[in-house]
Structures are given as C-alpha cells and as structure tokens.
Amino acid sequence: MMQFTKTTGRLELPTVVSFSSGSCFSVPENLPYGGGSSKSGEHMEQLLVHCANAIETNDATLAQQILWILNNIAPADGDSNQRLANAFLRSLLCRASRSDSCKLLTAVAYRAIEEISMVKSHRFSAVELASFIDLTPWHRFGYTAANAAIVEAVEGFSVIHIVDLTTTHCMQIPTLIEALANRPEGPPIILRLTVPLLTSTNPPPPLLDISYDELGSRLINFARSRNILMEFKAVPSDPSDAFDSLIEYVRLHQLISDAPEALVVNCQMLLHTIPEETAGAIHQMISVSSTTTTTTTTTATTITTAPIQTSTPFISLRTMFLKSLRSLEPVIVTLIDEDADLVSNDLIGRLRSGFNYLWIPYDAVDAFLPQGSEKRQWYESDVFWKVENLIARERLQRVERQEIRSKWVQRMAEAGFRRNSFGEEAITEVRALLDEHAAGWGLKKEEEDLVLTWKGHNVVFATSWLPQLILPATIMP
C-alpha cells in the first residue's frame, strides 16, 4: 500500500516529460494488418499492440508511456476511431489493474479505472430496449432472417416450442408471434417459449430492468391478443456449462410431451459465449473436479459418449452443446452471430482482430445517434463491455468468443446439421429492413447464408440449419 501511494505521487510528471520527446520507442513500419480502419486507426492499433505487449511483459514504464500517448490521441469523445481506441485503452487498463504483477500501472490507471467503473450498463425497460434495438440492424437483421426461416420451417405444426438463445431478452419474439398468428393455416395452438435465465454475474448487455417473469407474462399476454396460447419458461443456465440445464429441461419436456412438437432453436449472438477449444483447459479442469456429475450428464445428453470417455481428453463445450442440440431433433436451428474471429488465446491477436471488427459499431453509430445523446452513451457502453470482456478477461469470464461464419458452418456440419438456405421471402424482408437504415448497411449472400455488412465489411451472419437425415452416429430415439 505504501509503495502504491508513493508510486502514484511520483509517476505523473516524469512520464509526461519523457514521453513528449517521443523517443521511447519506435513504431515498426509495416505491421501486417490492413483491416477496415483508416490510417490513424492503424496507427492507434499499433500503439495498442505495443501497450499490450508492454503490459504482458510487465514493462510498466513503457506501458505507462504508451498509455499516456494513447490517452492523448484517443479521447473518449473523439471520432469513431478514437473512441474505439479509447475503449481498448481503458480495457487494457482494466486488464493491467487485474493482474497482480502490474501494480505500477494500477497506480497510473487509478483514475481511469475509477471512471470506467462509473460506466455501468444501462438497465432498459422492455419498451426502451425494443426501441433501442430498433436503431440499427445489428440485431434486427438476424431477427428478420430467422423469423422468415422459422415460420417456413414450422409450417403446418400446431404445437411449436421455441428455444430462444439470445442476449436481447426475447425482443425478437413479438414479431415472430405476429408472423405465426398471420400464417395461412392459422395460428399454432400452443407456442412454448423456453429461454435461458443467465446465471452469470456479468451477463452480456443489454440488461433488462424487469424480471423474466414479468417479461414472460407480457409475451403471454401479447400472444393471447393474437389468439395464441403461449407458455413461457425461463431456465436458469449459463454458457459456461453449455446451457446444460436448459438442454436437459427441453429433453425432459420432449420425453413427456404427448403431442408432436416442432422444436425451434433460435440462436442469436449467444452461442459465441459458450467456451470453445481455446478455453478447453478450463473445461478439462471442471471435468476432473466434478467427474461424477459431468460425466453422467455428458453420457446422457450427447451422442459422443464414447470419445469423451476413452480417447479424447475433452471436447469443447461448444461442440458438446451443438451435439446436444442435434440430439433434440429440432425442426430448425437458426444460428446468427457476429462474423469475427476473436478466440485467439494470444492477447495481441485478439486485440488486433477485435480492433478490426469492433470499429464497426463505433463507426455506424454516427449514422443514427447524435454525439452526446443518452442513448449513444448506452450504446457505446455496451460496445465497451465487449471490448473490455475481450481484452481484460480470461478463461470462463471471457465470453466474447466470436468465430467466423465458416468456422460455425464447420461446427454445425460436424454436429450433424445440414444447411438450409434462406428463401426469397427472407431476403426480401431483410432488404426492406436495411432500406430503413443508414446507407452503409448492406446484405450479402455467402453460399446459402446471409451476411449483414457495414460499408462492405462483414458484420453479422445468419445461417439456418436442419438436422442431417443420416446421422454420423447412433442417436437416442
């Protein structure tokens, strides 16, 4: 503590002085990254990389110096690139403050950290959240594409069970209810909605200021106004165990349900929070520590029992989840997620790829929210949450583990799903949606999938999947 205080007092001036000479380090000329950022963006990215390196190598002095520079060239209220860099800067500070070995930095960062901790994610009311999500096609793109695919897939079914895996608190469901209510053959008799109630202490934003009970009752109420009988169930579960309890709930429900039920699994930007292979060591640890329960569950839930127990030391929770999903025999799985590769275990790699993806939300916001508006603060603090999670968190706490579309396509294929292409209807509706938003948004078709783009860069992909008819392994009835 003494050391801490001393350091604080000593640090301020010398750092400034030594750095204003600009001779402390040199930026390598050509780093191999293009990305979508401007020149100044690339420059800031390099500074961030150096800073991260300094932090990782415990070079507190260098780190301070770079942080100081960054802080000056990347104000929190600057242009989109500056705000992006600022978010990464703050995240690096958070990271430094969490690691024991960087006490010095903590001192420097003290004020910044204080500021950061003031920025709390806004808690939305449901109506507020609805209009907030309406501002950009970031989520609505996936909603629209998925709704069209789902309505098509459940045609003729009168009992529909939707498992909605999303971070946006069922905001897609009203339009889906509406679409089902208006379908030619009439509304379904029963619509079941099962959602995970995330048990994490730090769930991804946006946050809701009402309970899921309340949310569910509103949805039920709305469904009733559309002549659909709806049942709502929130199952406490978490990506850190691959939504195990949710899967189990659905499985049990299927076992006992009497009528044939069309199971729809709608995955909107939540599956990337399930730990993948780079978090595998952790999973292994869990397996060892709670051998009995884990193995039991795995045995019962997945079709890959044998590999787990014999040869492979572990399979990732992500793979396990998809296989469990497959074993539930859904009529359709819609998988929508952010098209980025943020799973690198190496901080620098993550920083680079994150920097070259997350500029998009900062850049796009200028098109729909004025600087300084309250909503913009909410929006940017939610983006910051992502940056912070990506940079400052490790292991199971790091849930921003996006993978690119082709990787998911491979995973889905391996789990026993086959690609379902989006119909003309879906494309038309997505286009109509994008017409309502800024000109920078675009739609791209890649193979069978739809991709939302911003100024030509991939943002979000939408894929839809049917169970493969011939299974790779035997499956429970």
């Binding site: 008799i189 569910g216 002549n227 406490p236 309890s245 045995t299």
Partner: protein
C-alpha cells in the same frame, strides 16, 4: 444502345417531347411525328402494351434529365416546350403553340434501359413517359428524398411528398401515444408496452365485476380464482366454444368476451373428466387448505389440473365436442392463477400450487426460494400407476430431480422408456443432494434446492411439472 439524336430539332420533330435521346425500335421506323399531344392518352397497364405501339428505349441520361425548357422570367422549368409556351402566355410574352396536323400520333410504349429489369422486356413496356421515368427513378435511381419523420427514403419527389402528407397519420399508433412507421417496431413495442397490459387488466376487471356474487370465502386471496373457475361453471361450457371461435377472428383490441377464453376453458375439461372422480381422495393438506371453503368443485378442478398434465391417459375420455385441448385448460388455469398471483398481495395461490418450485424460481435471484411444500399422496399411489405414462415423468420437469426415494414408479418408467435414463441411473443421487441431473453441480443450482428436495421426497408431490413452471412467469409472487 440507344441512338443519340440529341438535338433540339429532333425535339420539335418528335413532338411528344420525349426529350432528346430516343431510340425507336418499332417496325414502323422513325418517322416524324405529328406535333402536339392534346389527344387523350390511354395509359396501358404494365405488361399489356399495345402491340401496334412503337417501343421506345430512352437512355438513362434522358430518363433522368430535368426540365430543360426554362422560363426566362420566373425560371420555372418545363419538360415540354409546349408547356413552356403556354406558361409564357401568363407573362404576356410572345408564345407559339404548334398546330397539330391531322395525323394521330403513333402510340408509343417505353421500356426500361436496364438489362434484366422486368420492364426491359418490350412485352412489359410501360405506357407513358412519366411512368417509365418514375419506374427508373424508383428502381434504379438514388433515393435522395428522405422523410424527416420516419427516415423512409424515396427516389421520386412526388412519392416523398405523398408520403410526407400522410406520414404519422397512416402509421402505427400505440395506445400509449407512441407512433411507429414500421410494423415490426410497432409490434415489438406493443408486446411490451403497458398499454396492452392495462387494456387486458381492464377487461379482466370488468369481467370480474360483472359476476360479483362471491359464493364463499371472499376474503381469501384466491377468491377471484375460485370465482373464475367455479362460479361460471354452468353456463361457460357452452359459451366457451363460441368465445373460442370469436377469438380466432382477429382482435388487436379484444372485446371482453374474446379476452378470456383461457380463463374459462378449464370448465370444459372439468365436465368431461371422469378421472376426476378417482382422485377425490388425493387432495392433501395443502389443497385442502387452499380450497377449504369449497366442497366438490375444487377437488374436481384440481384433479382436472392434474389430469390435464397427463393427456395421454385422459384425452380419450374427453368428448370430441370440447375442442379446447388439454393444454388449453392447464395453461388457462395457470394463466389465471398467475394473474391472480400478480395482483394478490400474498400471492399464496401460485406458491401453494407449487409453482414456486420450478428450477427457475428456486435459484433465481429475483425471487426468494419458495418455502418447502409437502404433499403426500398415499392413497393415490395406485392411481398413479394407471396414469403414470403421462403423469409421472412430468414430475421431473420443473424440478429436475425425479429420483427421490419413493419414486420407483417414475424412475422405472423413465428408465424403461428411454435408454437415456438407463444410462444415467447408476449415478442417480438418491439423497437428492448432488443435483447431478441438473448439471455438473454448478454453483448456480445451489442454495434452496437440496433442503427442498428432502422436504418433498417421498411425497407424490407436485403437479409442479414443467407445464406449471411454464405458466409461472406471470406470477409476481
């Protein structure tokens, strides 16, 4: 490529003032047209061009050309010289109209110059120049007219003007006063808006006032429930069908009758259930307490509730006339119960029914863990066997621990019905402590459950199955 005839002399010759660049591809070739357009023009429907008409392809340049005949006095522009001449009369300037000759102008139809466009094909040519110009702008032009209110964009100014006049008036308006330009936005808002909730509550209240002849125990918090379920019993069965039908027509603002089909539907199953009689004796302390003031009806209804969870065994008993499915009644009852739960201060009904025992409640931080409930069904053991196919497995649903000691029936049944459970059987935790079924004993399931389990083990507790759980969220217990 269109033939360029860009000269003013051509303009006068082709007096239809098709602007300059016209290529004429009809068989009749290009011959001078008689001047003046006074003849009434018949607008051809798109896709039904006059076979004798000349097919004209205008270049994009000429299609987008602005008014080229400008009044030197007021700078007003005209697309046609004749119109300018007419306009000049107003300024008392010399003017000159061309006299029409005896020849009727040859009919012309216009195709879009963009290859691949539907109107590129002469068979789908448009009948007038304005039409093709607007088409070209709308489909292939830039949308530069943006509505300030709703951000819709238009390529044709007149479209934008027409929209601006009605924007906000013809859009979607929620009862809360918020306006929406997009249906999806409106729908999503509507689902979560208090306006819908209030509307429904008002309807419900009105409904209850109407029949304010409480039979008994009106002081009890569950009395509204009883009223709903029991006092209406006689006349509702017949009314139900009608009401159910009325709800299948559309209602956005439901009438009192259409708003409550679910609340009444239980009565249909009550009348139809023979199973009801068999379990009169099974009501336990809890239910006796709950329904104490009532005599026969309540047991019947409760049984109905139970039996409705085991549709396989009881569906055959239901006469085909009661079209509402068993799910209908169960959920309806629950929804009603949930509403009461939400309004009553004690909320004892929901919890009393065991709704609080679903997993979500017991581990959700939003709610305190429900008190342990003990329900003994000693006499029901035999009847259980009869209906176990449908009923027993449900025990495990809301409360995923079906493996308590007194539950051989359920367990055996499940083991035999699915190898899945067979595999799991060896590790079943008969103390109900390990929570193995819920999933690897992760922290989030901890807390209230184990004591809960032990307290209810041995009892044939709970129709607290998933379906009750699913109906639960309405209840703010």
């Amino acid at each position: 490529m269109p033939v360029e005839i860009d000269s003013s002399s051509a303009m006068t010759v082709v007096s239809n003032s098709i602007s300059g660049d016209a290529s004429v591809s009809s068989s009749s070739g290009q011959k001078p047209q008689s001047p003046v357009v006074a003849a009434k023009r018949k607008r051809n429907l798109p896709g039904m061009p006059d076979p004798d008409a000349e097919v004209v392809t205008l270049s994009p340049k000429s299609l987008t050309a602005t008014n080229r005949f400008v009044c030197e006095i007021c700078n007003k522009g005209f697309q046609r010289e004749q119109n300018l001449q007419l306009h000049r009369r107003g300024h008392n300037l010399p003017w000159k109209l061309r006299q029409r000759t005896g020849n009727e102008p040859k009919k012309r139809v216009y195709v879009c110059p963009v290859p691949g466009c539907v109107h590129h094909d002469p068979a789908r040519a448009l009948g007038d120049l304005t039409g093709i110009k607007k088409h070209y702008f709308r489909k292939h032009g830039e949308k530069k007219w943006k509505c300030e209110k709703c951000s819709k964009k238009y390529a044709v100014q007149s479209d934008w003007k027409a929209h601006s006049k009605t924007c906000g008036t013809r859009e979607y308006r929620c009862d809360c006063g918020t306006l929406f330009s997009r249906r999806d936005s409106f729908i999503t808002h509507r689902a979560f808006c208090d306006a819908l909730t209030h509307e429904r509550t008002a309807v419900e209240n009105a409904d209850e006032v109407k029949e304010s002849s409480p039979p008994s125990a009106s002081a009890s918090p569950i009395s509204p429930m009883k009223k709903k379920i029991f006092s209406k019993k006689s006349e509702k069965a017949s009314k139900l069908q009608q009401e159910f039908e009325s709800t299948t027509t559309s209602t956005t603002s439901p009438s009192p009758s259409s708003s409550s089909p679910m609340t009444k539907s239980p009565t249909t199953t009550v009348t139809a259930t023979t199973l009801a009689g068999t379990s009169n004796t099974t009501t336990t302390s809890l239910f006796t307490t709950l329904f104490a003031p009532l005599t026969n009806h309540h047991t019947t209804t409760f049984t109905d509730l139970i039996s409705s969870f085991s549709p396989r065994s009881y569906i055959p008993v239901v006469p085909p006339s009661s079209s509402s499915s068993p799910h209908m009644s169960a959920t309806a009852l629950l929804q009603k119960a949930a509403q009461i739960g939400a309004t009553s201060t004690t909320g004892s009904l929901l919890r009393g029914l065991g709704l609080g025992l679903s997993t979500s409640t017991s581990s959700s931080s939003l709610m305190p863990p429900p008190p342990p409930l003990i329900l003994h069904h000693p006499q029901k053991q035999e009847q259980e066997e009869q209906i176990s196919v449908g009923l027993s497995p449900r025990l495990g649903l809301g409360l995923p621990c079906y493996d308590e000691l007194g539950h051989h029936n359920a367990t055996e049944m499940m083991m035999s019905s699915s190898p899945l459970f067979g595999q799991r059987a060896p590790t079943l935790d008969f103390l109900g402590l390990g929570m193995g079924v819920v999933g690897r004993g992760s922290a989030h399931v901890g807390g209230g459950l184990p004591p809960l389990l032990t307290s209810i083990s041995g009892g044939f507790e709970m129709a607290t199955s998933g379906q009750i759980g699913s109906g639960k969220p309405t209840g703010n217990v």
